[in-house]
C-alpha cells in the first residue's frame, strides 16, 4: 500500500509512475508541432479523459485543489467578470 501525501486524503501524490522520465518525455512530445491554442485543447482533452477514468468526485476535487495551490489570481486579467 502506497502512503498518501496527507492524512485523510484519497489523492495519491506519492510516486506512482513506473518510468517518470519516459512519461514526462511522452507528455511533452504529445504537444510537438502544436500551437499554444492547440496544446491547450489537447491538455483539456487529456484532463477530461483522466478525470473520467478516476471518476471519484472527492479525488477529482482534491486534485483540482492541489493544482490551484501556489497559483495566485491574476489581477491583470480583464476578461474575467
Amino acid at each position: 500500500m502506497i502512503a498518501h501525501s496527507l492524512p485523510g486524503t484519497l489523492l495519491n501524490t506519492q510516486p506512482n509512475i513506473q518510468a517518470p522520465d519516459d512519461f514526462y518525455q511522452e507528455l511533452v512530445d504529445m504537444h510537438r508541432d502544436l500551437s499554444a491554442q492547440q496544446s491547450a485543447l489537447v491538455n483539456a482533452k487529456l484532463i477530461l479523459l483522466l478525470a473520467n477514468h478516476v471518476g471519484d468526485p472527492v479525488i477529482l476535487r482534491e486534485a483540482m485543489r492541489a493544482a490551484r495551490q501556489d497559483i495566485e489570481p491574476d489581477q491583470s486579467d480583464g476578461t474575467r467578470g
Partner: protein, 554 residues
C-alpha cells in the same frame, strides 16, 4: 405574421368607475401564460379573480415555445391540456451537432405509458389564446384588458391597487395580489423590490420562420456549424409549419443592425439551404439574465413566473417553471383564504419555489457557460468535450446544450413527512417529487394523473383502507380522496385497475402501500401500511400546521 392574427380583446368598463372601490379576493397583475394559469386554477376552486393587463391581446411574437410534460399535466388539471397538446407538435428527441457531424442524441421520454410526451412545441401566443378562452368559460374570472397597474399600496389585510383603464382611473382592493407581470415587473418596482443575479453579454438572434420542410420534429443544436462558424445555432419546429431558429451572435453584435431582414436572410439561407422556401414570421435580438427575488412572498403580494425569477432560455425553464409556481401556490392560497390553513403556509410557497428557481438558475447558468464560454480555459474544455464526444460515451454526458425542464423535487420541504424508520420505497417518485403518470382503467379515464385532481389524494394499493376511514377522510376539513389500485372495491374510494402493471412498477406498490399526494400532485408522505392517525398528521403537516406548532414551541 402569416400564420397568426393576434386577437383583440375588449372588456366592459370596470365597476369601480361607477361606485366606491370594490373588494376582490384575488387580483392577478399580468395576463401572460403564468397569470392566466393562476386565474384558471383559482376559478376552478370557485374563487373570484380579476386579471389586469396593460395590453389587449396575447403575446406579439412567439417567445416561449417548449412546454414540458409536467406543464402539460398541469394544463390537463386546468382543463386545457387536450386543446394545447392538440395544437402543438410533440417531440422527445434532441440531436447535438459539432461542426458538420452529429455527436450526440437523446430521448427525453424513452418509455411508453404516459399520457403526455416529454415536450410539445407551441408558440406562446397560441397557448395564451387557449388559456384566455378557458378563462372566458369560467364565470369567476374577469379579464380586464388595457387596465394598467400604476400604483400598489400594501396593507396588513389587503392590497390597494391603482389602475388606469381607457375609461378612467380607479382603485381596486384585493385580499391577495398575484404578481405575474413578467421580467421587468412594474409591480415589483412599485413595491421597491429587486430581482438579483447575473446578466450575460452574448446576444442571440431569434427568428420564427415559415417553411415547408421535411426536417423531423426534433431539437437540433449545433456548436460551431459550417453555416455559422464559431457560434451556436438551434432549430426547432412549432405549429403551423413555423420553425424557431436561434443564432448566437456574440457580445459585440449590434442588435438594431442584426434585426434587419437583409441581415437575417443570408444567415437563414446559409442554414436552411438555397432550395428551401421560407419567410420570416417574427424576429428579435436578445440578451438574457439569471436572477431571482430574495423572497417570492411580500405580505399579501405573491410573485410568480418571470417577475419572481429569470433564467436563460436554454432548457425551457422560464414559462415552465412559472406555471409550476402557480401549481404550487394556488391550492395553498385557497386553503389560507378558506381559513383551513395558517397564513404561514404561503411562506412554504416562497421557500419551495425559491428552491426550484435556484435549481433552474443553476442548470440554465451551466448551459449558458457551456454554450458561450467566458474564458480561454472554459472554451478549451468546451471544445475538448465536443471533440471527445464524437468518439467517447463519457463525454456526451458532459455536452450541455440545455438541460431540459423537469419538475423540481421539493427535497427537504417542511410540508413533507419523513418515511417511517425501516420502510424503503424503490419508487420513481421520491418524497417531494411530482407524481408520475401510468395507464390505468377506471371511472375517470385511463391515466393515473386524472385521479389526482386538485385536492389531497391517498393512492393505496389493494383494498387496504377501511370504508369508515375513507368516510372520515372525506369529511375532514382538509379532506382527502382515496384512490385504490386493484383490490376489492371499498365504499367511497375510487378504484382503478393497474391494467399494465405500471403503477405498481413505478411506485413499488405492494398491498398496503400508501402514497399521499398534495393538491399539486407532489408526494408528501408514504407508508407501507395504512394508519389513519399518521395520514391525518401528514395532511396537517402539508397544510402548514407543523409550521405553527414549531413556531409555538420556539
Amino acid at each position: 405574421m402569416k400564420t397568426y392574427l393576434n386577437p383583440i380583446y375588449s372588456c366592459a368598463a370596470p365597476i369601480e368607475l361607477s361606485g366606491p372601490p370594490h373588494h376582490w379576493p384575488v387580483v392577478v397583475a399580468g395576463a401572460g401564460p403564468v397569470g392566466l394559469c393562476a386565474a384558471i386554477d383559482l376559478a376552478q376552486r370557485g374563487i373570484d379573480v380579476i386579471v389586469l393587463d396593460e395590453d389587449n391581446t396575447v403575446s406579439v411574437g412567439s417567445r416561449a415555445i417548449c412546454w414540458a410534460k409536467r406543464t402539460l399535466e398541469i394544463f390537463d388539471r386546468l382543463g386545457c391540456g387536450d386543446c394545447i397538446v392538440g395544437k402543438g407538435v410533440e417531440w422527445n428527441v434532441g440531436r447535438v451537432f459539432f461542426r458538420d457531424e452529429q455527436i450526440y442524441q437523446f430521448d427525453l421520454l424513452p418509455e411508453a405509458g404516459h399520457r403526455r410526451p416529454a415536450f410539445i412545441n407551441l408558440q406562446q401566443y397560441w397557448v395564451e389564446q387557449i388559456l384566455v378562452e378557458r378563462c372566458l368559460g369560467l364565470p369567476q374570472t374577469e379579464l380586464r384588458w388595457h387596465n394598467k397597474v400604476v400604483g400598489v399600496t400594501p396593507r396588513s389585510d389587503h392590497v390597494a391597487i391603482r389602475v388606469v383603464a381607457p375609461e378612467g382611473e380607479y382603485t381596486i382592493l384585493a385580499d391577495w395580489l398575484i404578481v405575474a407581470d413578467g421580467a421587468r415587473s412594474p409591480v415589483r418596482g412599485m413595491l421597491g423590490l429587486e430581482s438579483e443575479g447575473q446578466a450575460f453579454r452574448d446576444r442571440f438572434l431569434i427568428a420564427d420562420v415559415l417553411m415547408h420542410s421535411d426536417f423531423p420534429t426534433e431539437r437540433w443544436f449545433w456548436f460551431d456549424p459550417p453555416f455559422h462558424r464559431h457560434q451556436s445555432a438551434l432549430l426547432h419546429r412549432q405549429a403551423d409549419n413555423v420553425w424557431r431558429v436561434d443564432f448566437q451572435l456574440g457580445p459585440d453584435a449590434d442588435p438594431e443592425e442584426e434585426k434587419k431582414p437583409e441581415k437575417i436572410m443570408p444567415r437563414l439561407r446559409a442554414m436552411l439551404g438555397d432550395n428551401t422556401e421560407f419567410e420570416i414570421e417574427w424576429a428579435s435580438v436578445y440578451t438574457f439574465q439569471c436572477r431571482r427575488m430574495r423572497s417570492f412572498r411580500h405580505g399579501r403580494a405573491l410573485f410568480v413566473g418571470d417577475a419572481a425569477h429569470l433564467v436563460s432560455p436554454f432548457g425551457a425553464r422560464g414559462a415552465n417553471s412559472g406555471i409550476q409556481d402557480v401549481d404550487n401556490l394556488i391550492w395553498k392560497l385557497e386553503l389560507v383564504m378558506a381559513g383551513q390553513a395558517p397564513e404561514s403556509l404561503l411562506d412554504s410557497y416562497a421557500t419551495e419555489r425559491a428552491f426550484a428557481a435556484d435549481e433552474n438558475i443553476r442548470h440554465s447558468t451551466r448551459s449558458t457557460d457551456f454554450i458561450t464560454p467566458k474564458s480561454e480555459a472554459s472554451r478549451a474544455f468546451r471544445d475538448a468535450t465536443l471533440l471527445l464526444a464524437k468518439h467517447h460515451a463519457f463525454a456526451r454526458r458532459l455536452v450541455n446544450s440545455g438541460r431540459l425542464s423537469l419538475p423540481t423535487t421539493l427535497e427537504a420541504s417542511v410540508l413533507s413527512t419523513q418515511d417511517r424508520a425501516g420502510e424503503a420505497f424503490a419508487s420513481v417518485v421520491p418524497l417531494g417529487g411530482a407524481a408520475v403518470d401510468a395507464p390505468v382503467e377506471g371511472p375517470r379515464g385511463v391515466w393515473l394523473l386524472s385521479y389526482l385532481d386538485g385536492g389531497f389524494t391517498l393512492l393505496v394499493f389493494d383494498n387496504s383502507v377501511p370504508a369508515d376511514a375513507v368516510e372520515v377522510l372525506a369529511n375532514d376539513a382538509n379532506s382527502c380522496n382515496v384512490v385504490q389500485v386493484g383490490g376489492k372495491s371499498v365504499a367511497g374510494a375510487s378504484r382503478v385497475e393497474d391494467s399494465e402493471r405500471l403503477v405498481a412498477a413505478r411506485y413499488d406498490g405492494k398491498p398496503g402501500t400508501c402514497y399521499l399526494f398534495r393538491p399539486d400532485q407532489h408526494l408528501c408522505a408514504r407508508w407501507r401500511s395504512f394508519d389513519l392517525q399518521s395520514l391525518r398528521g401528514a395532511i396537517a403537516r402539508a397544510t402548514g400546521q407543523a409550521y405553527v406548532e414549531a413556531m409555538e414551541a420556539a
